[in-house]
């Protein structure tokens, strides 16, 4: 990993040149060092190479890169709200986490005699996490959406600072139980990067199993949620029951329905014996057959399929601009999956599932999910070929001051950056797939009808918890 430190214009030029060379934006965060506040931008290449461009705020602002890659918009707003760093050229720099501001400051101005706003959230009807959407509408037509999240901001990153590396895992990963394993593995990878540890094959296998177990229940849950979004009760019930099956399996294998406690920095304590493995294979085989049967039934339900096409479109160009990741990006035709470039995990010869019609609408996202379920079960089938034993990492290289872990979570690329402060956490930043995708949700909603928004939202099925942290 290359680390560059530039100041002022050199920082911007460096990023511009890298982006021109095909590097992609991965994360941006601010941090406080002895020499002052700093902003670090993480870039990644298609092959999984990483580089960090840093810049010191002089005295309290740095050049913006949002004009180069709009994907950095939320990161810059967050850095401003939490660290007080200004971004020259990011105009207007709307507050993101700071909720003590007037409506006019965070909402996009919408001109027009007939336009008005519909405010939804933070408290929603039904069981939904807290987040606020301000729809600028005329009747049922959405002109623009301002998403205001961070109602669940618990300050987990700050809470992790100063903890020992392994202790902080619980805090960081706990930001979201829907993506617990992804967050935990990303964090563990980042820490192991800092410590200079490499993963032996057994450790890679153990962690990959956890990641894919998480993906199984999440994918089933997403399909169930989309059925609920269009009110297809039979589908909702069927897939919800399968989600429960998958989570019960998690419980039997790891002792927790959301896999809590099954990942550690520098090794794995996961211990699964042969009988549990055969039970797991049996259960997964059943989930495979039952879910494909149910999926076929859904495909033959005209009323269900009719709801899907042509709404909530995010095309490939927009997906690239907004930095969309995961199934949402792949459904739009941006074929990227971190599982192809994960040397620390056991994804041998992984191939990205490519959809025939990559239209980037709700239908494409749903089909992409269904398409990815089977490879995911295949991977589990391959990896669950014997007992899983506790294993420790091996020392491979010198430690570093900054470590990065990137994992393909059920919602897309999750990036975790750890800056060490001795043997403790100096600064940790978790940028999950949900964080990257929220701007795409807002974009997808514009121009659609209000009653279709829940469906569009569910087709992304993003977490609020791991965005808010």
């Amino acid at each position: 990993m290359n680390t560059h430190h530039g100041s002022g214009s050199a920082y911007g030029e460096g990023i511009a040149a890298a982006l021109a060379d095909g590097w992609r934006f991965a994360s941006l965060h601010a941090t406080t060092k002895d020499e002052g506040r700093m902003v670090r931008t993480l870039l990644s290449s298609k092959d999984g190479d990483l580089r960090i461009e840093s810049v010191t705020a002089a005295p309290d602002s740095v050049p913006t890169i949002v004009d180069l890659c709009p994907a950095a918009g939320w990161d810059e707003r967050e850095a401003h709200d939490l660290y007080g760093v200004g971004f020259d050229g990011h105009e207007p720099l709307r507050p993101l986490i700071d909720h003590d501001v007037a409506l006019e400051q965070f909402a996009t101005p919408v001109q027009g005699h007939d336009a008005y706003q519909v405010a939804v959230g933070p408290i929603h009807a039904g069981v939904i996490e807290s987040g606020h959407f301000r729809f600028h509408v005329v009747g049922d037509l959405i002109l623009h959406v301002d998403a205001r999240l961070f109602y669940k901001h618990r300050g987990l990153e700050r809470a992790a600072e100063g903890l020992a590396l392994n202790d902080a895992l619980g805090v960081v990963a706990r930001s979201c139980s829907g993506c617990w394993a992804s967050n935990a593995v990303a964090y563990a990878h980042a820490c192991e990067g800092v410590l200079g540890l490499a993963a032996p094959p057994e450790l890679a296998r153990s962690r990959t199993i956890l990641l894919e177990l998480e993906r199984v229940w999440n994918t089933l849950n997403d399909i169930s949620a989309i059925c609920a979004g269009v009110g297809l009760a039979a589908g909702t019930s069927r897939f919800a029951a399968l989600v429960d099956d998958a989570r019960r399996l998690n419980q039997r294998l790891t002792g927790h329905r959301f896999l809590f406690g099954s990942v550690a920095v520098g090794g794995s304590t996961l211990d699964v014996d042969a009988s549990a493995i055969s039970d797991a294979r049996e259960t997964l085989a059943r989930i495979r057959s039952e879910s494909s049967r149910a999926w076929k039934a859904l495909l033959f339900n005209g009323s269900f399929i009719d709801r899907m096409p042509d709404i909530g479109i995010v095309d490939a160009a927009t997906a690239s601009t907004l930095g969309t990741v995961g199934t949402a990006a792949r459904a739009a035709g941006v074929v990227e999956d971190l599982r192809t470039t994960s040397p620390r995990l056991a994804y041998d010869d992984f191939e990205v599932a490519v959809l025939r019609r990559q239209t980037g609408d709700v239908q494409a996202r749903l089909e992409q999910r269904a398409l990815e379920l089977l490879p995911c079960l295949d991977i589990l089938d391959r990896l669950l070929d014997g007992p899983v034993r506790p294993v420790a990492s091996v020392r491979a290289e010198e430690g570093a001051s900054i470590g990065v872990g990137r994992v393909e979570s059920p919602r897309g690329a999750t990036t975790c950056i750890v800056e060490r402060d001795g043997d403790r956490v100096g600064r940790v930043r978790l940028r999950t797939g949900s964080y990257a995708n929220w701007p795409a949700v807002a974009h997808a909603a514009a121009g659609n009808l209000l009653p279709d928004f829940p469906l569009i939202n569910k087709s992304f099925e993003l977490c609020y918890a791991c965005v808010d942290r």
């Binding site: 005699h113 007939d114 008005y116 405010a119 959230g121 933070p122 002109l143 121009g447």
Partner: protein
């Protein structure tokens, strides 16, 4: 009756003269009220007793005047509207020069309206008809003479005269054929009958605002002062309906079914089109004017059903359909006057009638607001009020078109039935919007928050009209048999005269029973609910504060309909998102519903006409003298033409 008629006419004339002086302006309006009341009494007695007064209809060209039952209905309507409107005006019209002129012209307007109703020969009818058209133009011009007002008056005069040619042709041809007052003079299916029918439909239809001849109406009605708007939308269009009934039902004899079908189609078009465009208006008076188009459409539906049923020999049902159309005319006049006067009250209290900038007036003005609420419920066709009774009758009439009128006309009747059902639902949507934006919710503008109740005269006029809506909704069955009896053909069997509506051979509308049951159950439930209530809390907005950007707009409430009807209405909309430096700067939205008939029919025609007839611009001078001169010249030319035999 003679006493009533003469005292009525005198009252209005004297009242008009009293208005000449600022000190006696209010007294002038009151005297006019007394006159209108007397004429209404004369009309009522003609209707109830079935007696006639004065001359009967003649095809001669010498002046005759008289009153029969049909005239009586419309005189009654006129009184129902004019009395409250004049009382309202006595407080509403300012004692300025302009106000005095309005007072005088109001009397002239009333006299011309009465004259048209009482005329018994073609020439006086046409003379007074022209006067009735021109006086409102003068009243509008007497108001603040803005450029747009002048242009509107020009459109009004131009279009009503273009259409008015139809009236002239119809009346003069009828006189020529000796068919005025004689339904046997024209033979069924003759070409002259066809010409008369078409001319009458165009002539009277233009005045009644039937689509597609309606374009002047939503422009002209709103800009007049409120009492005059009430008279124009309440009475003048009713007089046009009177003309249609006279010609199509009384005089042209048995009409071939295409005439009835045409009226039915125009009616359905006007009803649906009128209410649809009313929905998308953002100005209260303009909205009300479009709704006049809708209601005259409903009247035309009843009339069309009457003609079709009569053609197919269902005489009893034809008479019911006629009764439905007449009852709806009366009902419409009452609630439309109420709503226009209410709009005038609000305009005075708040200084504007833009729907998105009112709100909360029911709390600020409980009496006027409450009366306006009842008017809205009545016009939306709610059971227990008068609008529903005549719409129910019209639905029944249309339902019976398929039962009697054969396959083609029957199918047309069924389509019209669906159109009316849709119209009624659209009216609910439209007036829910009006109630919500005007009367309920928070006030949306600072001026609105200071609104106070108007003087007692204005308030009283509104409450009286609201009471009329209620009474007419409770006892329509006492009036309806009289209206059915006006059918010029012999009837077997009677409609029972009881408060509720009871049509022989089909369902009933027991208005009193409904009132008792709904009212009684409501009271019972109100009491059963008790008074245990927690402290008021703000409305729920998902944990957010309710702020003004969250208030719904008029366009927003009707947006779903606009989206559904996109293929028909062809709304224009532009959404533009401006992004600069990777950040969304602002979004702008522009949406409009163009008036299709304006855009595709009138604009090309009027553009051509304007170029060709540039001399007509002199009409825009805005001086009353010009109009009077023009009118006299026209009449003289026509008289000469008739004498020489060039026309007729």
């Amino acid at each position: 009756m003679t006493v009533l008629v003469i005292s009525g006419l005198l009252g209005i004339a004297v009242g008009g003269l009293l208005c000449l002086h600022a000190d006696s302006l209010a007294a002038g309006f009151i005297t006019q009220t007394v006159g209108a009341l007397a004429l209404g009494a004369a009309g009522l007695s003609a209707l109830v007793s079935g007696e006639t007064w004065g001359a009967s209809f003649t095809s001669e060209l010498t002046p005759h005047a008289g009153i029969d039952g049909l005239t009586g209905v419309f005189l009654l309507t006129l009184a129902l509207v004019a009395c409250p409107a004049l009382v309202f005006a006595s407080s509403y019209v300012a004692k300025t020069r302009r106000g005095r002129l309005t007072g005088v012209l109001t009397a002239a307007f009333l006299l011309s309206l009465i004259g048209v109703l009482c005329a018994r020969d073609a020439l006086s009818f046409l003379f007074l008809w022209e006067l009735m058209t021109l006086v409102p133009a003068a009243i509008i011009l007497a108001g603040p003479a803005t450029e747009s007002a002048r242009r509107t008056v020009f459109t009004y005069v131009a279009i009503t005269h273009l259409g008015g040619a139809g009236t002239w042709i119809a009346l003069l041809l009828l006189a020529h054929e000796g068919a005025i007052g004689n339904s046997t003079a024209l033979s069924e299916g003759s070409s002259v009958q066809a010409v008369i029918a078409v001319a009458a439909i165009i002539g009277f239809g233009t005045k009644a605002g039937l689509m597609p001849m309606h374009v002047w109406l939503p422009r002209a009605h709103p800009i007049a002062p409120a009492p005059i708007s009430a008279l124009m939308s309440g009475v003048m269009v009713a007089v046009a309906a009177y003309g249609l009934v006279r010609v199509l039902v009384d005089w042209i004899g048995t009409a071939p079914s295409w005439i009835g079908a045409t009226v039915l189609i125009l009616g359905g078009l006007s009803a649906l089109g009128g209410i649809t465009y009313a929905l998308f208006q953002n100005d209260l008076k303009r909205l009300l004017a479009y709704s006049t188009v809708e209601h005259l459409g409903i009247v035309a539906l009843g009339l069309g059903a009457c003609l079709l049923l009569r053609q197919h020999g269902a005489d009893a049902w034809a008479a019911f359909a006629l009764g439905a159309a007449l009852l709806h005319t009366v009902n419409h006049s009452v609630f439309k006057a109420l709503l226009f006067l209410g709009a005038g009250t609000f305009e005075r209290a708040t200084g504007g009638l833009e729907l998105d900038r009112l709100g909360g007036l029911l709390r600020r003005m409980p009496w006027s607001g409450g009366a306006f609420l009842i008017g809205c419920l009545a016009i939306a066709g709610m059971p227990l009020l008068n609008g529903f009774t005549s719409e129910w009758l019209t639905l029944q009439a249309l339902l019976h078109v398929p039962a009697y009128a054969g396959v083609w006309d029957g199918a047309l009747g069924a389509v019209a039935l669906a159109a009316l059902a849709g119209t009624m639902a659209l009216a609910v949507l439209c007036f829910v919007k009006v109630i919500g934006l005007v009367l309920l919710g928070p006030t949306r503008r600072t001026g609105v928050a200071d609104a106070v109740e108007p003087p007692p005269a204005m308030r009283g006029a509104l409450v009286a009209l609201a009471g009329a809506c209620f009474v007419l909704g409770t006892i329509p069955g006492l009036l309806f048999p009289l209206l059915v009896g006006l059918a010029p053909w012999p009837l077997t069997g009677d409609v029972p005269s009881r408060p509720g509506l009871d049509l022989p051979g089909t369902g009933t509308l027991p208005t009193v029973g409904l009132l008792v049951v709904v009212g009684g159950l409501g009271a019972l439930l109100w009491i059963a609910r008790g008074s245990r209530r927690a402290a008021p809390s703000p409305s729920w907005a998902c944990g957010q504060r309710v702020e003004s950007p969250l208030l719904w707009s008029s366009a927003g409430f009707t947006k779903p309909l606009r989206l559904v009807l996109e293929a028909v209405l062809r709304p224009e909309r532009e959404i533009e998102t401006t992004t600069l430096g990777g950040v969304v700067q602002h979004v702008s939205y522009e949406g409009r519903v163009p008036h299709l008939i304006d855009v595709h029919l009138y604009r090309p025609v009027s553009a051509g006409a304007l170029v060709a007839a540039s001399w007509a611009r002199r009409l825009q001078s805005g001086r009353l003298g010009t109009y009077v001169g023009y009118l006299i010249a026209l009449v003289v030319v026509l008289l000469v033409a008739v004498r020489v035999g060039a026309i007729g």
